[in-house]
């Protein structure tokens, strides 16, 4: 196992280089000059465009640009945005907030989703099952801008339980409502996924064996059934963490959270390659670590799974 983990960690290096290269080339592959739109409808003086192009090495061939960028990165410099702000400052400001928000969303979706899934699977067809199905469909169909807005208006403006918007440096308490909104769609998915997996394992012979052995139902469910059913669920949760971090554009907008979702989105729209590459590369590292954790958990959940 130790060797496996070490190998996985070593794989970070090529992935890191590959990702930075792909992202870097993608951003600069967006058609149109990134500086052309900076001066409003008047258009920019050619001298301005030319100098910015030189400053960001855009006049050089892509591989050269990339090597220059990488060199800069290894000296600990993430580069500067077009308006002269250090990308590292942006990362420092945005990452902690986003990490908190994504963790809260993840806890919500995992706890409520798995609980709902277990409940429906154990109770079988009937009222509870239909209720959860209806709730699930509701979460799928209602766009985040609506659910976010409703929660904001009802709990923030009318009931005054939460603050309508969050602003800089939010506390965990302030992030609970946004986290719930953010995690809602995945919650629906986790509930259904757990339910399906439980249904399948419910009929497995080892469950029958365990029950026949006279084990208490609670133990059968928690130790035998749940453990085996959790593999696909854990997988999804692992991939979802990164998605919650980078894809929370709408939720961040509604609650005015200055996280990385909005940062990346804006940077993509203004074609700020250095910002996008820096922030997204760190995001990929999060994905890699989460997936490594998930892979290790497989072995813990199902003793038959072995890594050499």
């Amino acid at each position: 196992m130790g060797r496996y983990i070490l190998r996985r960690l070593l794989q970070l290096i090529p992935v890191f280089i590959g990702t930075t290269f792909i992202i870097y080339s993608l951003v600069w592959a967006i058609p149109g000059n990134p500086f052309a739109g900076m001066c409003g409808p008047r258009g920019c003086p050619p001298a301005f465009i030319e100098q910015m192009t030189q400053e960001y090495n855009l006049d050089k061939p892509l591989p050269v640009q990339y090597v220059l960028y990488l060199g800069q990165l290894f000296s600990g410099n993430f580069g500067q945005t077009f308006n002269g702000i250090e990308v590292s400052t942006l990362i420092q400001n945005a990452y902690p907030v986003t990490l908190k928000l994504a963790t809260i969303a993840l806890v919500f979706e995992a706890v409520i989703g798995i609980a709902a899934g277990i409940l429906t699977a154990l109770r079988g067809k009937g009222f509870v099952d239909n209720l959860v199905l209806a709730a699930t469909l509701f979460l799928i169909a209602v766009p985040v801008f609506v659910s976010g807005f409703i929660i904001q208006v009802v709990f923030g403006v009318q009931l005054e339980w939460i603050q309508p918007s969050v602003g800089s440096d939010p506390t965990i308490g302030q992030l609970i409502a946004p986290g719930l909104v953010l995690g809602s769609l995945s919650m629906a998915y986790i509930a259904r996924l757990t339910r399906t997996a439980m249904f399948e394992n419910k009929r497995a012979d080892y469950i029958r064996t365990a029950t026949a052995k006279g084990l208490k139902p609670r133990r059968v469910v928690s130790v035998h059934m749940l453990r085996n059913s959790l593999i696909p669920v854990i997988t999804f949760i692992g991939t979802d963490f990164g998605a919650l971090m980078g894809g929370a554009i709408v939720t961040e907008g509604v609650f005015n959270i200055h996280g990385i979702g909005g940062l990346v989105f804006d940077a993509i729209k203004t074609q700020e390659g250095v910002t996008v590459t820096g922030v997204v590369t760190l995001l990929v590292v999060v994905y890699l670590l989460m997936n490594l954790l998930v892979d290790i958990l497989y072995a813990a959940l199902d003793p038959r799974i072995r890594y050499d």
């Binding site: 990134p34 739109g37 409808p41 008047r42 001298a47 945005t81 400052t89 506390t171 308490g173 005015n256």
Partner: protein, 554 residues
């Protein structure tokens, strides 16, 4: 923010945090002693500016929101009327040959770091802005000054051409001369009647010594001479300005500290304003505009005033189809501007009757578009027939990153239903790509174009957009008659005479219809209960100097 600090330490456990969020939420705070000070600043909706905070290199309203209160130029525009009046200039006198201005500065003004503001600060700043090697966005603003071509040579084959412009042969414009500490002269290439009204534009601000010496340091910690000084900034989150106590100008502020807060969604800023968590907004979300709900909800705190700008549909006259003026007139006749203004903008806009913004100081439009801007189905069809019909699909382009989709869909529908031709939309993902396509003449059909006045004369709507050599002429329109009329107006003896001549030039556009004037959106915003006074200028920039905190206990 006020509430947030209260909440902060109490996040030990989930339940405790819930409780804390519970008692801290909503409501907004009342006015106290501390309101308007650094402890509890007045907050203003903002977004991250696109460029560094240097007056000659910043162009967007978010940058102006910071630079406007931080710098005072020779001339300032009144935030309410947009009329120019002398600010740092004691006097600006024109010589007999109409080419040289002698500027006398007011004495005793200081930058925020204590340096005195002298003639040298202006001359150096302008030379810096114009010099091609510094690649400033607003370099073209200095074009009229003698010697500009030496410091910023023109590109011989246009922006898109492969040839690079030659290296500048000088670093300073020969038209600027320092006479003494508080006097300097500006010599223009040729007489330019409305030059002084242009001087209120932020690019003409003076810059302190420290800017030229330590630019890196300056960008992080800008120093100006205006009523407010830079205090602190957290990128992507907020920027705080504090009142400059030694300010000598008439537009000194009364609020001690103002915090500009980044909002990504107008809807959220609006909610926060309603609950007094935010004090000034300069955008009203579409959701609140419907049925004028915002005016009901905000009452007299709602701000709505004419914008000094206009939205048009430009026509790509470099495409064969659009060279026919009858087709252009047919399209213009087919757009029901009044209904779009009423239903899409809820009356918070003015249907265009010409190419100059309505209510414009120094020459509101006198209906230069004439009959072509009135919706007339029969006539539209008649002109379409005259033009020989329209084959294929008419595609209207817009940039998807602005809030244009709804109205341009309505315009497309109006053209489609009136003329019975196929109409489609083409959303260009970013404004950068859009600008690129305009610069390189790649538009295939009508495309939306918004223009905001830089200075208060009708010239700003005409010269750059429709003269053959205009810096923002994206239509390919070229009319000798129009060019001559503009040149004549530039040489006029007085500002009033010039404005009248510019209006005449606009009438010439009415004969050719190079673009289709659509409407002018109102400047819309609002203040919270914590402010007794406060307004936006006509470029939607909140005028911080006008803010006054409400009486405590209100």
């Amino acid at each position: 923010m006020r509430k947030r600090r209260m909440v902060a330490p109490v996040a030990a456990s989930l339940s405790a945090a819930l409780l804390a969020a519970g008692c801290g939420g909503g409501g907004g705070s009342a006015v106290t002693e501390a309101t308007g000070t650094l402890e509890d600043p007045i907050t203003v909706q903002w977004a991250e500016p696109q460029s560094e905070l240097v007056p000659t290199n910043s162009n967007d309203t978010n940058g102006s929101q910071v630079l406007n209160p931080m710098f005072t130029g020779l001339v300032e525009y009144d935030p309410k009327s947009f009329e120019p009046k002398n600010a740092m200039a004691e006097s600006i006198e024109l010589s007999d040959d109409k080419k040289t201005y002698t500027v006398k500065l007011k004495q005793g003004w200081k930058f925020h770091n204590g340096e005195e503001v002298t003639a040298d600060n202006f001359v150096r700043a302008w030379n810096y802005g114009a010099y091609a090697g510094n690649a400033q966005q607003n370099a073209d603003m200095f074009k009229a000054i003698q010697g500009f071509d030496a410091v910023h040579p023109a590109d011989p084959d246009g922006e898109s051409g492969p040839k690079k412009p030659p290296e500048p042969s000088a670093e300073k414009m020969s038209g600027l001369k320092v006479v003494d500490d508080h006097t300097f002269t500006i010599t223009l290439k040729k007489p330019f009647s409305v030059f002084t009204t242009k001087l209120g534009y932020q690019a003409f601000s003076p810059m302190p010594e420290t800017f030229f010496e330590k630019k890196e340091e300056f960008v992080k910690n800008p120093v100006g001479n205006g009523p407010y000084k830079f205090e602190s900034r957290t990128p992507q989150q907020s920027l705080t300005l504090t009142r400059y106590k030694d300010y000598k100008g008439e537009d000194a502020g009364s609020v001690d500290a103002v915090k500009l807060v980044v909002y990504n969604k107008a809807q959220t800023a609006y909610q926060d304003l309603k609950s007094d968590n935010l004090d000034v907004i300069n955008v009203i979300p579409t959701s609140a505009l419907a049925d004028n709900r915002w005016k009901d909800e905000l009452g007299d705190r709602a701000i709505s005033k004419p914008r000094m700008g206009i939205t048009v549909l430009n026509l790509p006259m470099y495409k064969e189809k659009f060279k026919n003026p009858d087709l252009r007139k047919a399209l213009s006749l087919a757009i029901d501007r009044d209904k779009i203004v009423k239903q899409v903008f809820n009356g918070e806009a003015t249907a265009a009757t010409g190419w100059i913004a309505p209510d414009f100081p120094g020459g509101p439009d006198k209906g230069s578009c004439g009959e072509w801007c009135n919706y007339d189905k029969a006539k539209a069809k008649e002109y379409l027939q005259k033009a020989g019909g329209f084959d294929g699909q008419l595609t209207l382009s817009y940039n998807a990153d602005g809030a244009h989709k709804q109205w341009i869909t309505a315009v497309a529908g109006s053209i489609r239903d009136t003329l019975g031709i196929k109409v489609g939309l083409n959303a260009v993902p970013t404004f950068g790509t859009y600008q690129d396509q305009m610069d390189n003449d790649e538009m295939t059909g009508p495309f939306r174009y918004g223009w905001v006045a830089d200075y208060p004369t009708p010239r700003t709507f005409l010269k750059p957009l429709y003269t053959s050599s205009g810096s923002a002429n994206n239509t390919g329109y070229s009319s000798e008659k129009f060019d001559n009329l503009i040149a004549k107006a530039d040489k006029a003896a007085t500002v009033d005479k010039a404005n009248q001549l510019y209006n005449e030039a606009a009438s010439q556009l009415g004969k050719d219809v190079p673009s289709i004037p659509l409407f002018t959106n109102a400047v819309k915003g609002a203040t919270s209960n914590r402010l007794a006074e406060g307004t936006l200028n006509s470029r939607t920039v909140p005028a911080i100097s006008t803010f006054k905190v409400a009486q405590a206990g209100e």
